[in-house]
């Protein structure tokens, strides 16, 4: 499993990739592996608002549903349409399969998120339980 350094991470295993006032959001390799084969992704509509720490959608395997939590607040500018018919893309390449793009409301929120080294330490601890 790999975790790119340019991403920021949440404790709920989402990543966010900032690009100025915009950012892409997805789930980590760790999350996709824990979920197993992903069969469906429920995502918000373009134009809707997401709030840091709140659910913005869900991801389903055959026998489990997990909420997706927003790493930061913002307005959804784009939704990855490919995932409607090919959710397995997340399993194949979680790091590069973005789910939504947002216009950040407060880019400073990203400072509260984990860096790659923090995240790697976090999942090691979590996996140890």
């Amino acid at each position: 499993m790999s975790y790119p350094a340019e991403l920021k991470y949440t404790k709920e295993h989402e990543w966010i990739k900032p690009d100025g006032d915009l950012a892409a959001i997805g789930i980590t390799d760790y999350a996709q592996q824990a979920l197993g084969d992903i069969v469906f992704v429920e995502l918000p509509k373009v134009g809707s608002e997401i709030m840091a720490g709140k659910s913005f959608g869900s991801v389903e395997s055959v026998k489990a549903v997990s909420d997706l939590y927003a790493p930061a607040s913002g307005k959804v500018t784009e939704v990855n349409q490919e995932l409607a018919t090919a959710p397995e893309k997340i399993n194949h390449d979680a790091n590069r399969t973005w789910m939504i793009r947002v216009e950040l409301k407060n880019p400073a929120e990203l400072n509260t998120l984990m860096s790659v080294s923090d995240y790697e330490r976090f999942i090691q601890e979590e996996g140890g339980h």
């Binding site: 395997s61 055959v62 549903v65």
Partner: protein, 456 residues
């Protein structure tokens, strides 16, 4: 006890193996103060012959030799013999929910065929594995429309079965879902202008029934034009499934809630019946209830599994689409067998006979009484208004082994002395003529009276 496969010696051996002195040891976890220190006050252990006798007596008290003109959500159609032969097979009767697909392919394939036939019959793209009954399927269809739209108001036609509406209100009450009822017009159908004014931007859906409670077929296409234009979903409830053999299905609907009792399920004093929800493919993930899907096994062989289970309570718990944890598999199987027996041609011919009987009866009744909502098309039910109270009419008919139409005063006092009559293919011309004859007698010489002694 004849169902218990153990000898006293077996029990002793097992207790010894467990390391218990007596059976009481195993009930030690129950605090002594709550234990029942006596026999239950229930009937004593009876022989099979006694049980059969007891039920025979009860059966006799129900008077089964009657010709019935009752419909109103429960229909008497002939049931082909092979339905009971097949559903009595232990492998169908005594199997559990098909969670373990490898040892449940029989049930799973039968449900897949049921889903297919219901989709064909209703003109929808997909159907679920069944729900409790028509009333709960209708209610769940409305809740589904609310989830799909994210809106909380519901418009309901007053011509929907009154007990279905009551179930909807019961479910709606704790969630404070506002329900707006719209009246029927002089044809017993929805009044389009009232519908227009009832819809607001918060309306999730319109619920109608067709054929509706009065047996009248709604103009679904015209209603759908309004709902589509106003951006609300159209939910159509169907209580008489046999009508779909000759009545155009509500293809314009967004969700169809069907009661499949008509399709080979015994009247059985109201249950078990078989509800089912059918809808468009795009809405399937908000549909409640079990679903069977086709897939392949490791060797590429076709097989069937329960699918899209993440909608359901055992996974999503309080966020599930419904708390439903069952379908009516065995009853759905009855419906599948019935639909297979009649098939593409027979279902139409069967429906045509119903149409003919009702048309004949209507014509005969119209000679001595008023047929309400007469100009609108109908299937096998119609409303007869008399001078005399229908309970009184029915009391007299009972003496001639005829169960008359369902008196409507309880649900629709505004219709006065009206009763809902149903003629399926099982009603004979002579029964119709007898009923009409008796009604004609009283209508000719008796003024309108209130029932002295209400038979119901």
């Amino acid at each position: 006890m004849r169902y218990l496969p153990k000898s006293p010696a077996d029990r002793q051996t097992m207790l010894r193996d467990i390391g218990a002195k007596s059976i009481d040891d195993l009930f030690a976890p129950i605090p002594p103060e709550y234990r029942l220190g006596r026999d239950l006050d229930v009937p004593r252990q009876m022989a099979e012959s006694e049980i059969v006798d007891w039920f025979r007596q009860r059966s006799g008290e129900n008077g089964s030799e009657f010709t019935s003109f009752l419909g109103a959500g429960a229909y008497c159609h002939y049931r082909p013999v092979i339905i009971d032969s097949l559903i009595s097979r232990g492998e169908f009767l005594t199997a559990y929910t098909p969670y373990q697909a490898e040892v449940s392919q029989g049930t799973l394939q039968a449900i897949f065929e049921f889903q297919t036939m219901i989709s064909e019959l209703t003109g929808m793209e997909a159907a679920n594995a069944s729900m409790y009954d028509g009333s709960t399927a209708t209610t769940e269809a409305v809740l589904m429309a609310m989830r799909l739209t994210g809106r909380r108001r519901v418009v309901v036609a007053r011509s929907v079965h009154p007990e279905y509406r009551e179930v909807l209100s019961t479910y709606a009450y704790p969630q404070s879902i506002p329900i707006r009822e719209i009246a029927f017009d002089q044809h017993g159908r929805i009044n389009p202008s009232e519908l227009e004014s009832a819809i607001t931007p918060e309306t999730a859906c319109l619920l109608i029934q067709s054929p509706n409670f009065f047996g009248t077929i709604e103009d679904v296409a015209a209603i759908a034009e309004i709902t589509r234009r106003r951006g609300v979903l159209l939910v159509v409830s169907i209580a008489e499934a046999v009508s779909l053999g000759i009545v155009e299905p509500p293809r314009q609907a967004d969700v169809v809630a069907l009661e499949a009792q008509s399709l080979g399920v015994p009247l059985g004093f109201g249950g078990p019946y078989c509800g089912v929800i059918a809808t468009r493919e795009q809405y399937v993930r908000q549909m409640p209830g079990r679903l069977v899907g086709q897939t392949i096994d490791r060797n590429g062989k076709r097989g069937f599994v329960l699918t899209l289970a993440t909608r359901e309570q055992h996974i999503r718990r309080e966020k599930a689409t419904s708390n439903i944890c069952t379908n009516q598999a065995l009853v759905a199987l009855m419906a599948s067998i019935f639909m297979t027996v009649y098939g593409k041609v027979g279902l139409r011919e069967l429906a045509k006979q119903n149409l003919a009987k009702a048309a004949y009866a209507c014509q005969q009744f119209s000679k001595c009484a008023k047929i309400l909502f007469a100009p609108a098309p109908r299937f096998n039910e119609f409303v007869v208004q008399t001078k005399e109270d229908p309970h009184v009419v029915n009391s007299r008919l009972l003496g001639h082994k005829i169960i008359g139409g369902f008196p409507l005063k309880k649900f629709f006092p505004e219709l006065g002395n009206a009763a809902l009559w149903c003629c399926t293919e099982t009603v004979t011309r002579s029964a119709i003529d007898t009923a009409v004859g008796m009604l004609a007698e009283s209508e000719a010489d008796e003024p309108a009276t209130e029932a002295e002694e209400v038979a119901l």
